[in-house]
């Protein structure tokens, strides 16, 4: 059997694929962060909480309203987006003119409140949420057994990520958004309602976290802590990709998922710090991030 550094090739390919699955979550979440930071200049520390909210919304839709996975995949992100937009309209808006630090602290506090609230009502053990009937089971693809649901996660996240990138980079709405970040006064003078644009953007960013939450629900426990477990890594991904760079967030997300996956084979003890080591190296060599523009 072919081996690379003493690890059999099939095992390695399997790990590569698994890295890609985790990378899907990193990409989805860091994409939302990048959109929000790119356009609103808000470091959204509540992103992990919105991810958790997405998963809980799916769980609640199932248990209180009888709406299954496919319905939740559309409804839960909508719920999260509405919550996000209300928060943007009523609170976050007041912080736009201030230093980044205020937005960071505010969203961090918000995350603690949301998590604390859910912890109070649901505890920390988490709620089980089953994968939809059509995606249960696993397929033997030669070098590994791939659970069908995980294959779906990679596919879904790729579609969402590329779709978002296309909207922002290739459409007229995206052009308005990008223009509004460059010079909002001028864009407003052209008759574009910038405040509404910003609210929608924040809502959209939160909805992306919600999508990730629904995708994650059948894989992990639906637990109040699920967001805080992930958010720090996702921030590292954004920093490595370059703050605010959409493409950077997507590519770095998948790439780091793979690096982490391989690390779990060669040196498992370092798996939870490898992302941060890479972050430190990138910051030393390219302070603006891999895809960031020096400004």
């Amino acid at each position: 059997m072919t081996t690379i550094f003493g690890v059999a090739l099939p095992v390695l390919t399997g790990q590569f694929l698994i890295g890609l699955i985790n990378g899907s979550f990193y990409a989805l979440l860091s994409l939302g962060l990048a959109v929000i930071f790119g356009l609103l200049r808000i470091v959204n520390f509540a992103h992990g909480a919105f991810y958790m909210l997405g998963a809980f919304a799916a769980w609640m839709l199932l248990n209180y309203a009888g709406i299954g996975y496919w319905g939740a995949l559309f409804l839960a992100p909508l719920v999260v987006a509405v919550v996000g937009m209300v928060i943007e309209r009523t609170m976050l808006r007041a912080l736009y003119g201030l230093d980044h630090l205020y937005g960071l602290l505010f969203t961090f506090g918000l995350a603690l409140l949301l998590e604390g609230g859910f912890r109070h009502y649901f505890g920390t053990s988490g709620q089980p949420y089953a994968a939809p009937e059509a995606l249960r089971g696993a397929t033997n693809i030669g070098f590994m057994v791939l659970p069908n649901y995980r294959g779906w996660v990679v596919l879904a996240s790729l579609v969402v990520c590329l779709g978002t990138w296309a909207i922002i980079e290739k459409t007229k709405i995206g052009a308005y958004l990008r223009a509004a970040t460059e010079n909002s006064t001028l864009v407003q003078a052209f008759g574009v309602n910038v405040p509404v644009l910003l609210t929608l953007t924040y809502g959209f960013g939160c909805a992306l976290a919600g999508v990730a939450g629904v995708l994650a629900a059948p894989l992990f426990q639906v637990s109040p802590l699920m967001g805080s477990n992930l958010i720090i890594i996702v921030f590292a991904v954004v920093v490595i990709g370059g703050m605010g760079s959409i493409l950077g967030a997507i590519v770095t997300g998948y790439m780091l998922g793979i690096v982490e996956g391989l690390c779990k084979v060669f040196y498992p003890e370092a798996a939870n710090i490898v992302v941060f080591v890479i972050m430190a190296i990138v910051l030393l060599l390219r302070p603006a991030g891999l895809f960031g523009k020096d400004s």
């Binding site: 059999a8 920390t124 053990s125 089980p128 590994m144 057994v145 659970p147 992990f220 084979v265």
Partner: protein, 400 residues
């Protein structure tokens, strides 16, 4: 400016005066109020301690008893600082519960120095009563040796000879893996590999693939709560049991089994110190607990906290003082500590409370008649077989 000084000074004097005046004895429940151990210990441990104090009558040696709570956030530095402040400034005479072995290790150093009673219910590293043992400690509920021995031996004797470990990378995981390895080899099995993961891992698939490829008969999870639940859930995804490999959760609390659901947990064999539905006494206490906990069933940790606090109070009353933890423990060694939780129990000089343990099987969804109906008790493991004997003890307090 002068005014401000007066205010500060008078406040300080008032505060110190109230502190000195009629301080009640305090029982400090030091637990995880915000992290992944919240359900299995957390608020339930606080309620259990309060129940014990109320049932005891609320007074110790003529003084009031008060239960206070601290959140150690699963961090050893936070835990030991809290414990030190409690003992130094708040008249805490017993520190109780303390999930997470690394935190318990740090706290035990403080309670040893201060000679304060340390009643461990959740922390399970067997090192706490071995090389790190302390004269003022009682490890009440379980330890890694007992679980390893119970589950490890039962499965190996049942024909599962080759073991692979997925182990959490800190004190507790290492102890659980080492203890299980010993039990497995003693029963004629062998360990063919292991992989270590950081605490609070969200994705186990890499480790599961490695375990799957190892060709082991059993994949043993030497981790706890959130990690165990995620791993169990993901192992089902990868079709581990369908492909013929067995899964063993070395430490499973009732709340973990509820968390993953019977669909996934069914037929797991595990070792526990307590199950609410064993006899009238356990049911009676559990019903009282449930009433105060929105209908939730107690874990072994909660029952252990109650039993530990109750017996501590009895022993302190009998020894005529509460301040010296080691003297209270000395009294307790001569006492009968059997109750609804403790069966055939006694406290050893290394701090281990020896009592019967139970080998149970998780019911299938079709066998379970109510939400809390989760286990079938397979066998009682007598205390002397369940826990490590004193013969090879590395505890310096054990006289040989």
């Amino acid at each position: 400016m002068k005014n401000l000084k007066t205010i500060i000074l008078s406040t300080v004097f008032t505060l110190s005066a109230t502190a000195a005046f009629a301080d009640p004895y305090r029982i400090g429940v030091l637990t995880d109020m915000s992290g992944m151990n919240y359900d299995l210990a957390g608020q339930g441990s606080v309620v259990a301690a309060q129940m014990a104090v109320e049932d005891f009558g609320g007074k110790l040696l003529g003084e009031d008893i008060e239960v206070i709570v601290g959140d150690h956030q699963n961090k050893p530095d936070v835990g030991s600082t809290l414990a030190r402040t409690w003992i130094d400034e708040q008249n805490v005479v017993a520190v109780v519960d303390v999930p997470t072995s690394s935190v318990a290790m740090a706290v035990q150093e403080i309670t040893r120095q201060k000679d304060t009673a340390f009643l461990i219910s959740t922390a399970g590293s067997s090192a706490l009563t071995a090389e790190a043992c302390s004269a003022s400690t009682a490890q009440w509920t379980w330890d890694t040796y007992a679980l390893a021995n119970g589950t490890g031996r039962a499965l190996t004797q049942g024909g599962a000879k080759k073991w692979y470990f997925i182990t959490v990378d800190y004190t507790f995981g290492h102890a659980l893996e080492a203890d299980t390895t010993q039990a497995v080899t003693a029963a004629g099995g062998e360990v063919i590999g292991s992989v270590r993961h950081p605490r609070e891992t969200t994705d186990f698939s890499s480790y599961i693939l490695q375990a799957q490829a190892s060709g082991a008969d059993v994949i043993a999870l030497a981790n706890s709560s959130g990690d165990t639940m995620t791993a169990l859930k993901q192992m089902q995804e990868f079709g581990i049991t369908e492909a013929g490999q067995k899964v063993a959760g070395m430490l499973l609390f009732l709340t973990d089994v509820q968390g993953v659901g019977l669909d996934i947990a069914q037929d797991l064999t595990l070792t526990t110190a307590f199950y609410w539905d064993m006899d009238d006494a356990t049911r009676e206490w559990s019903a009282r607990y449930s009433e105060r906990m929105e209908g939730k069933k107690p874990t072994m940790v909660h029952a252990g906290v109650y039993s530990a606090v109750m017996n501590y109070l009895k022993a302190a009353e009998a020894s005529g003082q509460a301040k010296s933890g080691s003297k209270v423990m000395e009294t307790m060694r001569g006492m009968d500590i059997n109750d609804f939780f403790n069966r055939n129990a006694y406290l050893r000089e290394d701090g281990r409370v020896v009592h019967d343990m139970f080998l149970v099987r998780v019911k299938k969804p079709s066998e379970s008649t109510s939400e809390g109906d989760l286990y079938e008790v397979l066998a009682t493991i007598p205390g002397n077989e369940a826990f490590a004997s004193l013969e090879n003890s590395t505890c310096p307090l054990v006289k040989k």
